[in-house]
């Protein structure tokens, strides 16, 4: 169950792009373009990114999606909060309590409400 929380934190667009909320939109675009180019050329350095849960694979789709997320000012704000929360407060001891509803649900392996 812990891995689900990890998944959400680790797929934060800032992490995917390897930047922080301090980056301006223009800088974000530059970084994104660079990563896309590196991935296209198959450069090993770009194929994964570090997270507090260890390195995660990075794909061009993920980079494009992350860029699109951060272009939207409203969404960016939400990701900024999650980014700060995620990197500042991952506390393994809090365990189950912090898994959250989406984690619990998919951990049960259910994608839909069972038909009655």
């Amino acid at each position: 169950m812990k891995s689900d929380l990890a998944g959400r934190v680790a797929s934060n667009p800032f992490l995917v792009l390897g930047i922080t909320p301090a980056f301006s939109r223009r800088e974000m675009e530059r970084e994104g373009q660079k990563l896309l180019g590196m991935l296209e050329l198959g450069m090993a350095e770009a194929r994964s990114y570090p997270t507090v849960f260890g390195p995660r694979p990075r794909t061009p789709e993920m980079v494009r999606e992350a860029m699109a997320e951060l272009r939207d000012p409203g969404r960016r704000l939400a990701h900024e909060l999650l980014f700060l929360e995620g990197t500042a407060g991952v506390d393994a001891d809090r365990g189950e309590k912090t898994v959250g509803w989406s984690g619990a649900f998919s951990a049960l392996g259910l994608s839909r409400w069972p038909s009655r």
Binding site: R25, R26, E29, R30, Q33, K34, L36, G37, M38, E40, L41, G42, M43, A44, P60, E61, R64, E65, M67, A68, R71, E96, K97, T98, V99, G100, W101, A104, F105, L108, G109, L110, W113, P114, S115, R116
Partner: protein, 824 residues
């Protein structure tokens, strides 16, 4: 001096096509032999089989309509073929479009000195997947080795942004063509162009004005000359074509004049053949055109509103397409939208212009970079063709050594250097990393085209010849990845949908989801076929979305029988131009199926359309009765909306029976629109029940979340509760069901934490076991479950329950609606 690449963009229009070539500095429009930049999208095949396209073909539209075809863009993506009786030839829409492209390609060849091999072709933003695929196919048939697609509004904005001084804010692109209307909301900020959203109508255009006007002309003929003509009579098709052509000419004339005379010669009337002169003034035309204009503006308002942009925040509107030359149109837009209209742009060539700029941005030169015969080492480069960033990144990596690899190449590149061709900037010497790659940035000439030379050096400092020798970057707007216009997903057997790629997702995109089969696919069986319908649209019911293709897994191709509930990993992938590819991987067979049975807009027989219209009418009558009984004005009004769609569908159907080729599609579209509103109304009618159900669901979830939920779940639930209340007050059924889904999820999650939850579910599932598709297997599962329960093994019981669910068949009625989907 590095020779400049040339980039080509083509606006392949319903009515007219235009093309532009761009050398990084100047845009030129492609001219036909008559010197015109606007090429009619018309193809004629005479009795000897000679094909002509463009203005030479257009002349025959009236005198030889049987063998002269236009508006085939509307049929792109359908399986309809067009017949040319004189030569007994049949052509598909992409084949006809290819004829127009060939004329353009040849004319461009004369102008630029070589036949272009690669180009960007624009498509309407609301084009669905099969239509985009057909457009690419047309390009291939015309001899292009590669084409990329761009959405027309993006092209327009790009061209408008390029010529004007960059300003920041929201833009509206209003493109009213011959047969399609696109409204797009764009934002430019920090030199980046972003499509926020778009909307439109695939069946609205100048053609509808011609239609209204020809109807008016028919009335005049009847009233003043006793000539009766009817649209649904096939023998009147010829006279209607003439009326439409005359109407169009007069309409165009009236964009500049205040009065036009229409002359129709040799009309057969009760008094024999007569010549008719009719005078049309601008006020009459304006009145006839107004419904089309108002309808288009409503789409714009809806778009702007839906995206939370206040009217005052709109910077300007870019007008594109022939009908935007009409003064009344410009006036209405100014009045109703209160936005300045961008002036000084040519509405007829703007799209082609933008497409050519895009060809540069996506680095698709008209002539592909020649692969040299010499044994040179080559770099694979990554950089933007156009960028707002004054110092964009340039990346490169050595490709594998050429030749057989036996002899070590004389000198291996060790470092590179980039320098600008005007001598104004020179990069440092850059060592390649262990992978033979480099990452650097270059300095652009502001608002100009920069050419950079690439030099490579061996370890000893000697020059190593490499490809490519130069690269070109233009300082300008950056376009972000184009967003998907409609959600793409898969229809499930219960008529629900599984979303794969959501509307607005930047392209290219790919998504894989695991689904399960509903019933057995018997090995080697001819009769057994698993269908995975691919749909496009945002409606929660599959049948309201458009079917764009079907992946099929046939029994005869299956090497082992697949039991119900087998996993199928479905992957949908869209490229930048919105071209779809789909495949299904079946782990049990270790096989990939990628046959998309038909990537086409399905045709519907007129009879079944008529039946569908009739049944929609019946449903509507029920709603009307209720509305009257409850004096619900709002409901009545919305019912009127459905009625209008149905009436239009019926009219289109009549026209289809009269031989108008695209009317069937139009009728179908109107029917879909009607059904979508109907579904909403029916939902509203059952509002009290719906609300009742919502409250019960909420109570269920609240109880379980209170008992077994986490803090976060509780917070989410109380938020959802507030949202439910709000949806209730606003009578917003869509929002209500959305919130309800969340509530259910929260409740379910908590519920399943109860140690006995799966035992309860097991009781429920085993009580309906009589309906199972494989009774013997189901009975065995029930037994297995009972034993597991005795042991208190919750995990095993859960496994049994899930397998039991897979055996319970979906409702056949829903299944039919869900395009016979065989998965869930």
């Amino acid at each position: 001096m590095a020779s400049r690449d040339i980039f080509m963009g083509i606006d392949l229009g319903t009515t007219n096509s235009t093309a532009a070539v761009f050398d990084g500095e100047r845009v030129d429009f492609v001219r036909d032999q008559q010197g015109a930049t606007v090429l009619p999208s018309v193809v004629r095949i005479d009795s000897r089989g000679t094909v002509t396209a463009g203005s030479r073909a257009r002349r025959y539209l009236e005198s030889d309509p049987e063998n002269t075809r236009t508006e085939f863009k509307r049929l792109m993506g359908t399986r309809e073929e067009m017949l040319f009786p004189a030569s007994r030839q049949k052509k598909t829409p992409p084949e006809l479009a290819a004829e127009v492209l060939k004329v353009i390609r040849r004319a461009a060849g004369v102008q630029i000195g070589f036949e272009p091999e690669q180009a960007v072709i624009s498509v309407p933003a609301l084009f669905e997947l099969p239509q985009s695929a057909a457009t690419s196919e047309a390009g291939r048939l015309a001899g292009f080795s590669k084409v990329e697609l761009i959405q027309e509004p993006v092209a327009s904005a790009l061209a408008a942004g390029w010529t004007a001084d960059e300003d920041e804010g929201f833009w509206l692109v209003y493109d009213l063509g011959g047969g399609t209307f696109d409204a797009s909301l764009l934002e430019t900020r920090d030199g980046l162009l972003r499509v926020v959203a778009h909307d439109g109508d695939n069946f609205l255009g100048g053609r509808d004005i011609d239609q209204a006007l020809s109807g008016w002309l028919a009335e005049r003929l009847a009233e003043e000359h006793g000539v009766r003509v009817s649209r649904s009579d096939p023998s009147d098709a010829a006279i209607f074509r003439r009326l439409k052509l005359a109407a169009e000419e007069a309409k165009i004339e009236l964009s500049h004049a205040s009065e036009a005379v229409l002359s129709l010669e040799g009309i057969s009337s009760p008094k024999g053949e007569i010549d008719v002169d009719l005078v049309l003034n601008r006020a009459t035309l304006d009145a006839l055109a107004l419904p089309v204009i108002e309808k288009s503006i409503e789409v714009c308002e809806r778009l702007v509103l839906a995206n939370g942009v206040e009217k005052g925040k709109l910077h300007r509107v870019v007008l594109v397409g022939g009908p935007t030359a009409m003064p009344v149109l410009r006036q209405r837009i100014r009045e109703r939208l209160q936005i300045p209209v961008a002036e000084g742009l040519d509405p007829m060539t703007l799209v082609a212009h933008g497409a050519a700029l895009f060809a540069l941005t996506s680095r698709l030169p008209a002539r592909p970079v020649a692969v040299s015969e010499e044994k040179r080492r080559s770099f694979w480069l990554q950089y933007p063709g156009m960028s707002s960033d004054p110092a964009p990144h340039v990346l490169g990596r050595l490709t594998a050594a050429p030749g057989d690899g036996t002899e070590p190449s004389a000198a291996e590149p060790f470092a590179i250097r980039l320098s600008r061709s005007d001598g104004g900037w020179k990069g440092g010497l850059l060592e390649l990393d262990a992978e033979g790659a480099f990452v650097t940035s270059v300095e652009l000439l502001p608002r100009k085209t920069s050419v950079f030379f690439l030099e490579a050096f061996a370890k000893d400092g000697s020059v190593v010849p490499v490809e490519p020798r130069s690269l070109t970057i233009v300082h300008g707007l950056t376009i972000s990845d184009p967003p998907l216009s409609r959600t793409v997903g898969v229809a499930l057997a219960d008529d629900s949908t599984r979303e794969f790629i959501r509307r607005g997702t930047p392209l290219p995109a790919r998504k894989t989801l695991t689904l399960r089969t509903v019933e057995t696919v018997a090995k080697g069986s001819e009769g057994s076929l698993l269908k995975i319908p691919i749909i496009q649209g945002e409606f929660p019911s599959a049948h309201l979305c458009r079917l764009v293709g079907t992946l099929e897994i046939a029994g005869r191709e299956v090497t082992a029988t697949l039991p119900p509930g087998s996993a199928v990993e479905v992957t949908l992938e869209l490229d930048r131009g919105g071209r779809l590819s789909a495949r299904a991987f079946v782990p049990a067979l270790n096989r990939v199926f990628s046959e998309v049975a038909h990537l086409a807009v399905p045709e519907i027989a007129p009879d079944s359309l008529a039946a569908a219209i009739a049944s929609a009418r019946e449903r509507l009558a029920g709603i009307r009765r209720d509305a009257f009984a409850n004096r619900d004005r709002n409901l009545l009004e919305r019912a009127g909306e459905v009625e209008a769609h149905l009436a239009e569908a019926a009219r289109d159907l009549a026209a289809a029976r009269g031989g108008e080729p695209d009317s069937t599609q139009r009728a179908q579209r109107n029917l879909l629109d009607a059904e979508a509103v109907l579904a909403e109304l029916e939902e509203e009618r059952s509002w009290p029940e719906l609300w009742d159900e919502a409250q019960q669901e909420f109570a269920f979830s609240a109880e379980w979340v209170a008992r077994l939920g986490t803090e976060i779940e509780e917070r989410h639930l109380s938020e959802a509760g507030r949202a439910l209340e709000k949806a209730h007050q606003g009578k917003n059924a869509t929002e209500l069901s959305r919130q309800l889904r969340l509530v259910k999820r929260l409740g379910t999650a908590a519920f399943y934490r109860h140690p006995d939850a799966w035992f309860w579910m097991f009781d429920a599932a085993s009580s309906s076991v009589s309906r199972a598709s494989e009774p013997a297997k189901a009975a065995k599962l029930v037994k297995e479950g009972e034993e597991a329960r005795k042991r208190g093994d919750s995990a095993a019981v859960r496994g049994v329950v899930e397998r039991l669910w897979a055996l319970l068949p979906p409702d056949p009625e829903f299944r039919r609606l869900g395009y016979d989907s065989g998965i869930r």
